[in-house]
């Protein structure tokens, strides 16, 4: 297992589940229904403000675990975990690849 923290470009379906993503110039296709959960952050080490109404994003992060394979090669499936959050300023989706299980 490899820990990373890299931006990835993710396409989702209508329910918001990732279906494919672009990482290090390669295209990956999600091969099975991804699993979603919520992990937490140690906000006391990172955050600068936690005032009332700051929102759960300071504490919580959505993680998607998925089996995906590069390009059309469906033989070699790898497990990835991608963290999903929203930019506090512009509301844009931020996807970061955090783990790869080789």
């Amino acid at each position: 297992m490899q820990r990373l923290d890299e931006n990835v470009l993710v396409s989702t379906n209508q329910s918001g589940e990732p279906v494919r993503f672009l990482w290090r110039d390669s295209n990956y296709k999600v091969r099975a229904r991804p699993i979603r959960w919520f992990a937490r952050r140690d906000w006391w080490l990172e955050a600068s403000r936690v005032q009332r109404g700051v929102g759960p994003g300071v504490l919580e992060v959505e993680i998607w675990r998925m089996l995906a394979s590069e390009g059309d090669n469906s033989a070699k499936k790898t497990q990835f975990e991608i963290a999903h959050s929203q930019d506090a300023k512009n509301g844009k989706n931020i996807w970061r690849l955090v783990r790869v299980y080789d």
């Binding site: 006391w44 005032q51 700051v54 759960p56 504490l59």
Partner: protein, 1096 residues
Amino acid sequence: MNGFTHLHVASAFSGHYGVTRPETMAEAVAATGSSALAITDRDGLYGSVKHIGACLKLGISPIVGVNLIILDESGSPIARSVILAHGHNGGKGWAKLCAIVSAAHTSRGRAGQLRKEAQIGIKRSLLAQLLGEDGGCTILLGPDSDVGRAALNGPRQLTTSLLSAWREMFKAPGSLGIEVVSHLTEPGTAYSTDQARAMLQLADSLSIPTVLTNAVRYLEPDDALTADVLDAARHLEPLGLFTPQPNAQAWLKPAILMHAIALEICGEASRALQLLDTTERLADRCRLEPVSDCGWGKPKTPEKSALGIEGNPFEILWQKAHAGIEHYYRGANAALLAQVHHRLGQELITINKLGFATYFLTVADVAQMIRDMKIRSQARGSGAGSLTNYLLGISGVDPIEHDLLFERFLSTERSTLPDIDIDVESARRHDIYRAIFKRYGSNRVTLLSMQSTYRGRGAMRDSGLALGLEDEEIDDIAKNMWRFSARSFRGALETKPELSALAAAVDEDRRMNLLVDITERLDRLPRHISMHPCGVILGDESLLQRTSVEPSGLGLPMSQFDKDDMDPMGLLKLDVLGVRMQSAMAYAVREIARVRGETLDLDNIPRDDPDTFKTIRTTNTLGIFQIESPGQRELTGKHQPTEFNDLTIQISLFRPGPMKGNMIAPYLDGRHGFAKADFIHEDLVPILKETWGVVIFHEHVLRILNVMTGCTLAKADEMRRSLENPRVAPQVKKFFHEKTKERGYSQAVIDRVWEILEGFSSFGFCKAHGAAFALPTYQSAWLKTHFPTEFLAGLFTHDPGMYPKRLLMAEARRLGVKVLPLDVNKSTDEYLVESEGIRLALTEVQGVSENEVARIIEEQPFKDIADFYLRVKPTRRTLERLAVLGAFDSFGGKRRSDEPGDDPEITRGDILARVRQLNAIKNRPASEANQPTLDFQVLERIPTGNAEPTMTEKVAAELSLMKLDVSEHVIELYRPMLEEMGVVNANELVGLRNKSEVLIAGVRVATQTPPMRSGKRVVFISLDDGTGCSDSTFFDDAQARCSNILFNNRLLLISGKTRRTGVRGVSIMAENAWDLREMWEQWSKARPQFRERAAG
């Protein structure tokens, strides 16, 4: 399927766990159209009454349960489970829930001693026994149960056998269920969908019903941050040192999200629907019908048999009250007697209509019991307005003489149980509690609890702990947090000068920024439950089926409900308040009897003694109840009271309401003839003549409404209450305008009176309350005037006031009452009056144990130091301290050996040397049987040639070991500097011209920041310099100049201008303040002869 009922919800009353108040949660649920909501606080029913009340108001069904730890036979926890009461069964479910919760707490206090470390929890076998064959509650096994944990990673066989074990024990229909929860945590961990699914499958295989909850602990995801901080406070560890909650999913999710979770767990729609349906069916079973299930609103008073009466309670009350007329109005003229009979008749009719006869008999019974115990007592509050209370001996104030109204206390327009508060000697309060338990039986009595909430400093301290700040850092910040709500901490940083250092730190230090944010989040959250300082609940035999109880610090059982829960639950609360002044006065009376052989009935002294009022008018009111504060002293100087009613008025005026309502100045102007009293209309003259036209009392408002509109006094009190409520106030306005017009008042009069009534709303004060307070005020002033020595001895012993004891000692010096030094042959655990003065008590010496004090008293008298050493067996520290403070000085004096050439006097230095010899003995005397071989019986030989300590050294020792300066005032140490600087004494201020520039020094005795009309903060600092007290006022500019010492330093030098406030009143408008010791450092550097002087 639509809707979803949450069955597992911790409110903020789950101490250091839940985040949201029950009312807020119920409102949120009602707004989404749900029809029911549960509350399941941890370890108790703490929030349940508020929850039920909110649900009733919102028209949804309340459900109540508890979240308890269940233990195995060895006492180890096997589950933390929700237990829900079933409803609509005549109170069976509720009573069982109460019994279960109470049982979970009894293991902590069985021996009458609270064991804090003991776990709150109930053994599974006991739980099964309490539920019995017929059930009444449902236990839910969730993710935190042995079954839930095994379902996550245990072998299937184990999980099945664990669940079977539960099923075997809980056979009553509907008493066991599985609770599945998914907080969408990482797969394979607790509170994950995986776990929920495994539990569901297991339950299905054993055909045990399964419900879905969200194990809620906050309203919204944002609140999860607050929950993190509460977790830290509960663990007493900083964040990062314990396993935190997995994410922010434990919020009160709407139905649509709960349905999605059901689907995610079940994987298919039909099973999901079934899960949701089972949840709703359990919810339906648990909907409570508050009146029939919880006894909601039904008054419960002790049964006649418990009160020892037979027959109709009202007839008995009637007889008792009329018998009181004989006693209290003996020799009254016919007109007064007619008035008494008429009024009593009216009151009794009201009491009978409300069905409160038993209530009054109960309170009278308790009051009689207290009197029989020879304990001073006195009713306070609006109850003093009742003639019935006066005649039953509950209150000591004659409502007819003082013109107090019954309707303010009780009327047929309201049906809530009235509050009668009884003030008693603080030192005897616990004796009274125990006597009440004994008299009525522990099945009818419990103590009341109270929930303390996070406020400024407490919130900051726990926030600091959560962030892992150092203790010193936290202490430094706490020192400067002064009178502001933690909710506006960030705003305060900008405006309060003493927080400027913290404000700068916040700009630079991320942690400080977080500290401010989370402190604001914690503000006002319930913090912990404790014994209410005065409340006792008196009920009937069903009391313990209505409320859960837990052991209090006192060992007696305490209800988990607080004072706001009493009225809704129909519980009778009696406030038995411990008042130190009552103890001090009782002590003075006992000393007067002991020393002078005079018996004194303080409740029957004349209430118009001119000397007593003369004492009060000097403003030397230190030690007098209610009027000793700096503000009250200033007001006394302006007011110059001459009769009892003046005290009632003065006490009532010095309240936040009347101060904000600007009632003081017009009243004083009228009284002193500076302005002509304006009564607006001649009808109001009789009502307002006592206050020169100023409306101060609730009773004034009642009478004005009564006279001008013709309504009853009872109706008038309802209108007075309505005035405080902006929604109904317009109706009162309409009524007032219409009625007064009908009755022929001019528009100008109507408008002006209405303006006053409207402005009055929350500002006024209940006169009965003021009069009840004025009684101990007068009594203490009377004692101070006629028996100052005994009274001061009472004050020293029971410490009733706001000031440090050393200030009262300065007052004793001023009055010429001597405080005698410690003497092991004469000092006890109390301040005894002797012919010379008042003897210091041994209890003042720090580090001397209670046992040592008890042994000294028991073994007195002693013939020499060795005798003391042998019989008391003091610790080395105690022996040395007593010697340093001069407690053995009486063994000194002339030497008993007359060897020629010796110094004839034995000094304290010699005695100390002797004590050190004794302390050097290795084999200290251990017990009577094991006497050391040393021969102590020979004439004690005291070493000679050691110097007597200087006055400076004596005072320094007194201050450090007793926090008292007995030999002379501490300020004397600085005298040379103060004289050179031209510092003025406090007693000289009154002779100075207005606006004189002065310097004043002294020991800080009080710091106050009272509410001000303008909303600006003003700081009052009182200093004592041995000649009296000076009061300085710091406005914004001055606060800024000395912000670093404003709230910190003890010895201060203040510069400012005098300001005359009345005949005898002078205060100082402060310009700046300095640390006196620092100044001394500077000053004495240049004057080496004084260097050592004020080192202490």
